[in-house]
C-alpha cells in the first residue's frame, strides 16, 4: 500500500500475511496490495520476496496504543522502499473475500 496520508502509514493485511512477511524479510509498506483497496495478500508478499532478494530487517518497534485508542502501527522507516508489483492473489476465486469477489464481478 502506498504510504499515503489516508492510510496513516498503516498496512492492511491479515495476521498470517504479516507473519509471512517477517519470515521472508519483506517490508509490508513496500508491497502493493492486490486485494480490495490495496489489501496485501499472501501472494503479494511471496511475489515481493521473489522480486527483491534483499533481506530487509523487518523488526523495529511498533506501538499498539491502549484500548479504544489508535492502534496504528508505525513501521520501521529504515526498510528499503523496493516496491514489488504483485498482481495475483493466490487465494482461489472461491476463497476470496466478499469485497474481492464483488471486484472480480465488476
Amino acid at each position: 500500500a502506498d504510504d499515503d496520508a489516508g492510510s496513516g502509514g498503516r498496512v492492511f493485511a491479515p495476521p498470517s500475511v504479516r507473519r509471512l512477511a517477517r519470515e521472508l524479510g519483506v517490508s509490508l509498506d513496500s508491497v502493493d496490495g492486490s486485494g480490495p483497496s490495496g489489501r496485501v495478500t499472501e501472494g503479494d508478499v511471496r511475489a515481493a520476496a521473489e522480486d527483491d532478494g534483499d533481506d530487509d530487517d523487518p523488526s523495529g518497534p511498533r506501538t499498539v496504543q491502549s484500548n479504544g485508542k489508535s492502534a496504528t502501527a508505525k513501521r520501521d522507516e529504515g526498510a528499503s522502499g523496493a516496491s514489488a508489483s504483485a498482481e495475483s492473489a493466490d487465494r482461489e476465486q472461491t476463497l476470496a473475500a466478499p469485497a474481492t469477489r464483488a471486484l472480480a464481478k465488476e
Binding site: 504479516r18 507473519r19 483497496s37 489489501r39 499498539v64 492502534a71
Partner: protein, 475 residues
Amino acid sequence: MVVGDIATGTDLLVIGAGPGGYVAAIRAAQNGIDTTLVEKDAYGGTCLNYGCIPSKALITGANLAHEAGHAEEMGIHADPVVDMSQLRDWKSGVVDQLTGGVEKLCKANGVNLVEGTARFKDENAVRIAHGGEGQGSETIEFEHCIIATGSRVIQIPGFDFGDEPVWSSRDALEADTVPERLVVVGGGYIGMELSTTFAKLGADVTVVEMLDDILPGYESDVARVVRKRAEDLGIDMHFGEGASGWREEDDGIMVTTETEDGEENEYRADKVLVAVGRSPVTDTMDIESAGLEADDRGFLSVDDRRRTDVEHIYAVGDVVEDTPMLAHVASKEGIVAAEHIAGEPVAFDSQAVPAAVFTDPEIGTVGMTEADAEEAGFSPAVGQMPFRASGRALTTNHADGFVRIVADEESGFVLGAQIVGPEASELIAELAFAIEMGATLEDVASTIHTHPTLAEAVMEAAENALGQAIHTLNR
C-alpha cells in the same frame, strides 16, 4: 522440586503464573524449550483468582437473580432469595476448577513448576524464596527470562485495605454477605462492574468518581447507556468528588469526599470499595540486579517482541508499559515472547486490541473511535445500528444500546467499533477479527449473518455506514 539452596538451570524462566506467564510457559514448552514457571501465590494469577473469573461468576448470579425477580412483564413471577455465601462457594468452585486446570495443563505440556518468590541475583539467575518457614531457598539460572509479575491494587490515602470496612476488589469478590449500603470509590470498569453486581444483589450502592462521568476512556454515548441503566438500578452516582477518608459510626461507617473547590460530602455505608486502579509489580524482585529499570510508575518498556532493554529478559502483561492491563493482552504478549525465544518470526503486531466491560449492558470496543480515526488522518465513515431495531435483542428483552462501526471512507477498511448492549463482549470478536484481516465494510455487510442473532446488528452497522441498512434508517 528442589529444596535447599541448590542451583538448577533452565532455558526459560517465567516469573508469575497469571495469564501472561502461564500462557507463555505452556507455549514455550510446546516449542520444545525447557521451561520453569515460578509462582508465589496461586496458579492463574490475578485474573483467575481475584479478577476476571470471580467477578464474572458473581455477575452471572446477580444477573439471574435480578432478572428473574423483574420479569413480571414477561409473565414470570418470582422472588429470588440469594444466599451470598452459597454464591461465593459456587464462584470459588469455578475458580478452583480453572486454576487446577492451569496447573494440569502446565504439567501436561512439560512445564517445570516451582512455588516461591523470585528475586534477581544477576542477569542470569534468580533466587527463589519458598513460602513456608524453613523451606530454604534455591537459585535458578536461566538463558531467557519472562517477567510476568502482574499488578496490585492501588491504595489511596485514608483507606487502608487492612481495615475491615475497607474493601479492595478482591475483598468484594470474597464477600459472604451483601452489605446493606456500599460506597464505591472509582467509576472505572472494575468499580462499575462491582457496583452493578452488588446493586442487583440488593445493596444500596453509591459511586463516587473524581471525573465527570463513569467509565473514563469510553465515549460519552457509550457510557451514557450504562449510566442510565445504573440509575434505573438505583445506583447513586456522584461526580467531581474524591474520597478523602472514612470513620466508624454507631451504625456502619461514614465515607467523606471532597470536591475540587473543597466542598465536603458524606455518605453512610457499611463497606467502602476502593477501585481506583492497579499498578505494576516490579519493585519486589530486585530487577536492578538484572540491569533493569522500571519507569516512574513501575512499568517496564519493551520492544515489539516484548524484549526489555536486557535482550534475553522479556516482560509481558500488566507490567508492560503502553499496552492495556488486560488478561488477553497479557496472554498474547506471553505467546509472542515465548515464540520469539523459540525462534519464530513473531511480533506483537495486533492492529487493535479488543476490550470488554461486563456492566449492564456490556461494552465491547476495539480499535479506533470516530475521533481517533479523524486524528489519524482518515476520513471516517461511521455506521450505527440500535439494538432496539434488532429482532434478536427484542426477543431477549435486552434492547438498549447499539453497534457502531468506524471505517475509512475511501478504502472501506474497518478501523474500529464500539458496542454497548447485550453480549457486546462476544460481538466485538467478529469486528476485532475484521480489523486484523484488513476487511472492508463491504466484506462485513455482505457476509450472511444468522437470523435472529445480535450479530446481525454488526452487519447492519456496516450496511448503515454504506448507506444501505435495512432495519435502521440511513443517514
